[in-house]
Every structure is written in C-alpha cells, then in structure tokens.
C-alpha cells in the first residue's frame, strides 16, 4: 500500500520522524508545564516567575507566563529554532538530497511529470508536518489536562497547527534555497542562517520601541501572533493564514524552478552572484597537515564538528555563570515554593539549590551529558565509515587495523580534551567578567572531569560497532545516555538503591564544582573505557570488514 505512489512512499519514509519528532516535540511542550505547575503555588512565586521570564523578554513574548499554557508558549517561543530543525533538514533533502544520490534520475524516468513528482513529495512533507502538529496538539492538550492548563482540545490543536505552519514556511525556504545549491548541506546551512536571522528580526520589536514594522518581515513574528494556549490572547487567524500563504508561495516557487532546471543542476544565479568558473587542475596538494597520517586525517574530519560543539558547550557553561548571579534572588524564592524542584536541583547539583553555587553545580552536570552526545555523533561516523566501505581502501594500505582504530579513537579523545579545556577557559573568563567567585580547582575539575565520560561512551560505541550497524550502534548509545541520565537525575528522588545509581557514569562525575575532582572514581571510569576499547580493538582486528 505504501509503495503505490510517490506521495505514499515519501510519507512512508517520514513515518519515524512523524512519531519521533511529533512525540518528542510534544514532550518538549509538556515538560515546562510539568515544571511550572509546581512553581505556581503562591502569589510570590508567580510574581518571581513573571519577573524571571521578563529577563528573557527579548527572546520571546512574555504573555500570561504565570499560567500553564502561557509558560509553555513562552518556553517554546524561546526554542522555536529546535522545532524548525526537522522541516529544515527534510525540505533541503527532499529534492536535492535525492539528486545527490542519483535516486531522482530513476524516479523521473517513470511516466510521471516532474511537477507531479515534486508536488507529491511536498504534499507528503506537509502531511507529515500536519501529523506532527496533531501529535503535538494532542500531547499539549493532555499535558494541559494533567497540570490544569485551562485550555481546550481545540486550543491544543490550533497550537500544533500554528507550529506546523511556521515549520512549513521554514521548509519552503529550505526547498527554495536547495534549487540554487549543488548539495543539500549548504541549503540546510543557509536556511539555518536565515532562520536565525528571522528569529533576531522578530526580537527587534521587543528590544527597540516602535520597531514592530521591522519584525513584520520575519515569519516568526506571525507565528508569535497566535497563542492558542493562552485563552485570553487567542489565535490570530490572519497571521496563520499569512503563514499558509507564505509556505505556499515559497514551496510553489521552489517547485516551479525545479520543473524548469536541469536535474542535478542548479537554477542559474545572476553573474555577479556566481562563483568563479571551476578550472580543472592536475595539481596535488602539498603541506596539508591533515593528510599526513590516519590520526591527522581523523583530526581533520572531526575538527569542524568539534569546534561547533565547543562553542555550544563552552558557551553554555559561560552563559550559566553569567546568568546565575542575575537569577539568584528569584531562583531562591521560586525554589522555596517548590520542594520538588528544590530536591531535584539539590540531587543533581549536590548542594543547596537556593544558592547560586548549588544551582550552577546542577547546570554543570549537563556538561558531560553534552560532551557524551558529541562523542555519540562521532562514533556514528566511525561505524558509518565501515558500513559504507570507506575503511576498505584505508585498510589496503600498510596500516595496522589496530593503528587505524586507535588513531580514530585518539582523534576523538583529543577533541574531548579540547572541548574540556576550552570550556574551562570560557568558564574562568565568564566568572572573572561577571565577578562570580569560583574555586578554580573545582572549576577545572567540573570541566576537565567530563572528559573521562566522553571517552567512556566513545569506547563503548567502538566496542558495539564491532557487531552492530551504524543505526543500531547510535541507537544503543543514545539509549544508554538517556538511561544513565535518568538513573542519575531521577533515581535519587525515587530513592533508588546506591547500587543502581552506581550503574550510571554520572555518579562518578559527582558534583565537582562544589566538592572537587573525584579522582579515584574517574580513574575507574577511564579503566572501564580502556577495557571497552581493548575489547573493541580485539574485535576489530579479527572481524570481517564491511560484512
């Protein structure tokens, strides 16, 4: 049934994203409802929450944030970028990705016009977005019912529809840009850049008085005109209609261009925008450091993602240090009214949550989680290289299998050390700039102490890659990461026995910002990593490659 048409086949390809992204984003909407429900117990707490939200007013509209629906809308407004990631990637790959792989040549050889094929694919993506919107709407309604949100099923569904519409606009932008690029990646990159620009454009009117006309150029502005979860604010039908028209125009223009250009080619740009014509060359590169050994090449491959993850992780650490002082007073009032959140922060941070050190310690526990997520993405690359046959020629050179594996692992290890060191540096600079007094030894322990955890998940990933294919390996590591996180952060609240808590590596990371480096436990983590890597290496040197 699912292979009867281009539309159904494309929809079939989207079935996992529909469920994963729909439910995942639905939970992202529901989770602030759960957290804020316990914070709204007293008028003082409500007042502090409004005040706290006001400090982020530049980022999202502060409308009825002391209600469940208002707070959820506010939080999603802050993270709209996250919601738009899927349509951005899906639309940039929709036609261009298939052209990259050569799959579109075959599809367009069947007696079906190019226009119809493109329209069917677009319809599948929009159907997927609507299905995601429906799931988000239903989960939002369920969350509202559970935590006393005070909005109807219709409001929840309108909220989902509004998200689907803004996603369709972003998808339309990506689809249009992909008509001008040779590959899907640059189209996704340009769209992400434009999305950031739109978000900033929308922020302008919140920061600069009488500048609303500027924000009107951003589709995000029209998304924010509707707040169905705030019954007193309601839905702006005109704004939603405008988003629909925008999505139609952008996607329509993209498909119009697609129907007229060469398959595998791009829409010709005006000459002043074109890159200089490619001139063939027979020259060989000389002095490129990244081509000198397997380790150097591995570093070269990992460099760019490592830099972006460093910016994210070090930026998060620095920002938390800056923000914690400004939020201190409000946080203590909020936590005082919510023993649950207080206990959670205390369990995670290992200290008094009403103090900024305790809160900061709790936030710093997220650093190893981020570093481990980075390691998972890189293990995925190792596993994919074998699966896609990219190790075959490498292993046909006089390089030992063990050497190749260790070189790749060492590059990943080097990247984790780099991220740790830069995070330490950024945190120290942020502390000095904000006037926050932090024990430098403890700060070093908190930032450098995450390295063994990154190394551990990488070693486990290399071990599993000996048997599992890429998707299964990445899935297993992601699952492990979630379980460990849950065991460490929810386990203490559920009074789980110490033996269970010890199963998570976060247990051994401890709360170094408050209590210093747990040297012996972290050496234990390194020993387990070494064991996993040794077993992984043993498997790799004996296994059939690419089977």
């Amino acid at each position: 049934m699912w292979l009867r048409s281009v539309f159904l086949k494309a929809l079939r390809d989207y079935r996992i994203p529909i469920l994963g992204w729909g439910i995942g984003m639905g939970l992202v909407v529901v989770s602030p409802m759960a957290s804020v429900a316990t914070l709204l117990s007293t008028p003082q707490a409500r007042e502090q929450l409004v005040g706290l939200a006001a400090t982020f007013a530049w980022n999202a509209d502060v409308v009825a944030v002391d209600t469940i629906g208002g707070y959820a809308t506010f939080k999603i407004g802050m993270f709209i970028f996250l919601i738009a990631v899927w349509p951005l990637l899906a639309a940039s790959r929709m036609l261009r990705g298939e052209e990259d792989r050569g799959a579109l040549d075959l599809l367009l050889s069947v007696p079906r016009s190019r226009l119809v094929v493109a329209l069917e694919k677009l319809a599948a993506m929009w159907t997927a977005l609507l299905a995601m919107g429906l799931l988000i709407g239903l989960l939002t309604f369920a969350g509202g019912q559970k935590f006393g949100g005070g909005f109807s099923l219709g409001d929840g569904l309108l909220f989902g529809l509004n998200l689907a519409l803004v996603c369709a606009v972003i998808g339309g932008v990506a689809l249009l840009i992909s008509q001008f690029t040779q590959e899907a990646g640059p189209a996704a990159g340009w769209t992400a850049g434009l999305l950031l620009f739109f978000i900033v454009l929308d922020m302008v009117h919140r920061v600069i008085p009488n500048s609303e006309w500027i924000s009107r150029f951003s589709p995000i502005y029209y998304y924010n005109r509707s707040k169905p979860l705030v019954p007193s604010y309601g839905t702006n039908a005109g704004a939603m209609l405008l988003l629909l028209v925008l999505a139609l125009v952008l996607s329509g223009a993209a498909i119009w261009l697609f129907a007229r250009r060469d398959v595998g080619g791009t829409v010709p740009l005006p000459c002043w925008l074109r890159r200089p014509a490619h001139t063939a060359s027979r020259a060989l590169p000389a002095g490129d450091w990244s081509l000198r050994s397997v380790y150097a090449r591995s570093l070269g491959m990992i460099a760019m993602p490592a830099i972006w993850w460093t910016v994210g992780i070090a930026g998060f650490a620095g920002w938390m240090i800056f923000a914690v002082q400004q939020m201190e007073a409000r946080l203590s009032t909020l936590f005082a009214s919510s023993p649950t959140v207080m206990n959670l922060i205390k369990n995670i941070g290992g200290g008094d949550a009403s103090l900024n050190a305790g809160f900061l310690s709790a936030m710093f526990v997220l650093l190893p989680l981020f570093l481990m997520a980075f390691a998972v993405t890189q293990v995925n690359g190792w596993s994919a290289d074998e699966q896609d046959g990219r190790l075959e020629l490498l292993l046909a050179t006089p390089q030992r299998r063990l050497g190749v594996l260790l070189a790749r692992f060492a590059a990943l290890g080097s990247a984790t050390v780099f991220i740790g060191v830069i995070t330490l540096f950024a945190s120290a600079v942020a502390a000095a700039a904000s006037g926050l007094t932090l024990d430098l030894g403890n700060l070093a322990a908190a930032t450098l102490g995450m390295i063994p955890l990154g190394v551990l998940i990488a070693a486990v990933g290399y071990l599993a890659a000996g048997w599992l294919r890429t998707a299964a390996d990445t899935g297993l590591l992601s699952f492990l990461l979630l379980v460990w996180f849950f065991v460490s952060f929810i386990g203490p609240e559920l009074k789980w026995p110490d033996a269970t808590l010890r199963l998570s590596p976060f247990y051994y990371y401890g709360t170094p910002l408050l209590h210093g480096l747990p040297l012996v436990p972290l050496l234990g983590v390194l020993a387990v990593s070494a064991l996993a890597l040794s077993l992984g290496a043993l498997r790799f040197v004996r296994k059939d490659i690419g089977v």
Binding site: D100, Q182, E183, H278, T279, A280, S281, R282, A283, L284, P285, A286, D288, L291, R292, S293, V294, R297, M301, D388, G389, R390, E392, L393, L394, L395, A396, T397, P398, Q399, R400, R542, K543, D544, I545, G546, V547
Partner: protein, 308 residues
C-alpha cells in the same frame, strides 16, 4: 617462474550464505591473471580474502610466501589495490585523496604520481562526491598504481571507465607486465580478460571451475548472430556450417538467429548468397555462456580444470 599468489582450498561463507568453497589456484610472478565469473560468483570474496579484509573459514592464502591474514601488513606493502566499489571520504578532493594515500604508503615518487594524473587527465581539484563514476574509478586506479607495487589486485578495474580510459588502462597493464609486475584482475567481461590477461581462472557459484591460459577461454567463447534477409531463405542451409552450434528461424524464414563458436567465415559466405538486409553479431553475457557451457557438465564444474 615462482608463484606470487598461492591459494589452497580457501573457503568463506557469510553465515548460511555461500561465499567461496575450496578455491585453489596459483598466480605466477609477472603474470596477468584474469579472475572471471558472473556477478555474485565469489570474485570479490576471494579478493577481499587476499586483502585480509575477510578472514577465511578454511584453507590458506599466501602472497609472496606470506600468510595473507597473519602477515597482512607486510603483504600490503607489496600490493596496489582497487576495490570493486570504491568508497572514499566524499569531502576530500581527488588530489587530497592521492596525497593522503601517498603518505599512508610512506611516500611515493611525486613525478610518477603527477604523470599518472596527467595520463588519466584527472581533475584533482574536485571533491570526490562531485566526480562522475568514471572519474572516481580513475582516482582509485591511480592510487593503486602510484607506488609501483609488485602486485596489483584490481576488482573489476575498467567498470565505469570510458573506452579511451579503458585503452589507457590496458596500456598500463601491459607496461606493468613488461616491468615484471604481477596483475590479478577480476572481471565479468570475457573480451576484456581476453585482451589483457595471460592466464584465466573462472569462478562460478563460489567454486573455481577452470584455470588455463587465455587461449582456453577463447575456446569457450560463444557469440550470437542475427541475419535478416529481404526474402525467405532455407534455414537448413546454416545448420551444417562450420562454427554453427544452434540455428533458429526468424520472421517466417526472413531471418535466422545463430549460436556460433569459432570462425564466422562459412556463415558469412552462405549468407552472401541471399539479399541481406542486416547482420548483427554480439557477445552473450558471461552468465549465458556459463549456463550453456557448464550446465549439465557436472564433472567439469565440480572441480577446477587445470589445462595450463
């Protein structure tokens, strides 16, 4: 001459699936050995076993007297390898790939590398992902030759190359042979092996069915011919001619389809007696040849027939 490749009762299966079974052969140093077989016959499995990318279930494989699995590092110093489906980092340019592999081999003669790049007219500034299939194969072919290896192991090397580059490849094989180097290449195209190889091994369903010099392969080479006439002709005329194996009448006697082996001289002369509209001759696929030649020929296909 001494054997540079010695394979003895080599076997490999993938779980329950067949790979190869009891494959034995030798390749003499300086020889150009064609490893012939239809798709899925076990050519790539044999090659990947030689390259220590797979571990054999049974049997032994030795190159230059060294065990392919236990001494693979030493062996790889002697080998230039081209896989059947080249996969490389898509974000590196052709030039960067060649430079990288040159480093991994401990350095190569830059002048010779540049000569190869010129010879194949490779644009080294493009990213691997941007290359056409033929250009991707050129990159991999150059990396196989660039360190002047003692033994070249090439898995379907000309697949995807245009005729001009195929000719260039043929010349390179000849040059390598003249320099005393050994070439082991797999193919599923009879005429290609016929052109470049001195010795041929034929593998089918994971078993080596024949080894011999290239003249032996020519003996099994069959081809087909279709002749269309302006008028109906007596088909029986062709049945008893030299080289004709099978005859089939077409278009109510206005045409004839012939299965041939050997010279076509008698057929062409016989056809010339009638008004010919068209004459088409083509080589059947290797699978077709094998089906006809080996089917029902149990004893010959069960064990390799060494005739060299």
């Amino acid at each position: 001459m001494t054997a540079i490749i010695e394979v003895e009762k080599l076997a490999k299966s993938y779980g329950g699936k067949r790979g190869i079974a009891e494959v034995s052969f030798q390749v003499e140093e300086g020889d150009v050995f064609g490893f012939l077989g239809p798709n899925g016959a076990g050519k790539t499995t044999t090659i990947r076993l030689l390259m220590a990318l797979l571990r054999a279930d049974a049997g032994t494989a030795r190159i230059a007297g060294l065990d392919c699995w236990k001494q693979s590092l030493e062996i790889k110093r002697l080998i230039g390898y081209m896989p059947g489906e080249p996969a490389l980092d898509p974000n590196l340019t052709g030039g960067q790939i060649l430079e990288y592999f040159a480093h991994l081999r401990g350095g190569v003669d830059d002048a010779y590398l540049k000569h190869l790049v010129e010879r194949f007219e490779l644009d080294t500034s493009r990213k691997f992902r941007q290359y056409s299939t033929g250009n991707k194969r050129k990159v991999v072919l150059i990396q196989a030759f660039m360190h002047r290896p003692r033994l070249l192991i090439l898995d379907e090397p000309t697949s995807g190359l245009d005729p001009l580059n195929q000719q260039e490849f043929d010349r390179m094989v000849l040059e390598a042979r003249n320099e005393g180097r050994t070439i082991f290449l797999s193919s599923h195209v009879l005429s290609e092996v016929e052109k470049t190889c001195t010795t041929v091994g034929i593998i089918r369903d994971g078993r080596l069915v024949r080894i011999g010099d290239v003249a032996e392969v020519k003996a099994i080479k069959r081809y087909e011919m279709t002749i269309t006439f302006a008028t109906a002709i007596p088909v029986e005329t062709f049945k008893s001619l030299d080289g004709v194996i099978e005859v089939e009448a077409l278009h109510n006697g206005h045409g004839v389809h012939l299965a041939m082996q050997g010279s076509a001289d008698a057929v062409v002369k016989a056809a010339a007696r009638y008004p010919v509209i068209s004459l088409t001759s083509y080589e059947p696929s290797l699978e077709d040849i094998f089906l006809r030649y080996y089917e029902g020929d149990g004893p010959r296909s069960a064990e390799a027939d060494h005739v060299a």
